[in-house]
């Protein structure tokens, strides 16, 4: 049974404009099992430090699984790999 009081590693794939802010297209963050997407967003902002451009892009970006875009109140899915999606512009 999952111990919700201990942190778990979340892997976050980066796309689009985020590729210009980091050499590695994936972030790894330890976060509590009970954390929400909103909390995860705050943790990612901390990782970007004083890079204001990356932090501004984060504000208008969405977290997603391979199946769907997540809401801010959603719990971070256990053991899954997430993606950070900046504003889109296909076509």
């Amino acid at each position: 049974m999952t111990d919700v009081s201990t942190p778990a590693e979340v892997r976050i794939k980066l796309f689009g404009g985020f590729r210009q802010y980091t050499e590695d297209p994936e972030l790894r963050i330890d976060i509590m099992h009970s954390a929400t997407v909103s909390t995860l967003r705050s943790r990612v902002a901390e990782l970007f430090g004083d890079d204001s451009a990356a932090r501004e892009l984060l504000k208008v970006s969405a977290f997603a699984t391979d199946q769907r875009v997540l809401d801010e109140d959603d719990p971070v899915p256990n053991g899954s790999e997430l993606s950070l999606l900046p504003p889109v512009c296909g076509g």
């Binding site: 689009g16 875009v69 900046p86 889109v88 512009c89």
Partner: protein, 149 residues
């Protein structure tokens, strides 16, 4: 009984509009509408020499399928839809996206094809980086997927 047929996908290979037309073909379909999105040589006054498309393959296919099912629900259950987007570096004139819709009559085909393309541009996890003639390059701003704050 629904006869909706849907084909969606992403690929690194050049797109073939004929394949989309062949998929969107049925004896009872008197109309087929085809849209091809191509890389153009200028954007907002800057001369462009190419575009790199980045996309989230798994989520993109899921979103494409969802868009196609919504479109079919709106324009009739006898419709055939195809939506394929390319990724990687493309030169001027190359096709980045092919969308096609066929139906018994032209009105549904026109509207369904346009709906697929417009929704794709707003909802599919796809990004493009323009490469300019002056040597600069830039990620193009787009539509936010998030609904917070």
């Amino acid at each position: 009984m629904s006869t909706t047929r849907i084909h969606v996908g992403t690929t690194a290979n050049p797109l073939d509009p004929v394949e989309a037309l062949e998929f969107c073909s049925a004896p009872g379909h008197g109309a087929v509408d085809l849209f091809i999105g191509r890389v153009r040589d200028i954007n907002q006054g800057k001369a462009v020499r190419g575009v790199t498309y980045d996309l989230h393959e798994a989520l993109c296919r899921n979103v494409f399928q969802e868009l196609a099912e919504e479109t079919a629900a709106q324009w009739g259950d006898e419709i055939t839809l195809c939506l394929i987007h390319r990724f990687g570096r493309l030169d001027i004139g190359e096709a980045s996206v092919v969308a096609a819709a066929s139906s018994r009559h032209r009105d549904e085909a026109f509207r369904a094809c346009r709906q697929l393309v417009e929704e794709m541009k707003h909802r599919a996890p796809i990004w493009k980086k323009e490469h300019y003639v002056d040597g600069d390059s830039e990620w193009v701003q787009g539509h936010a997927l998030c609904s917070h704050g």
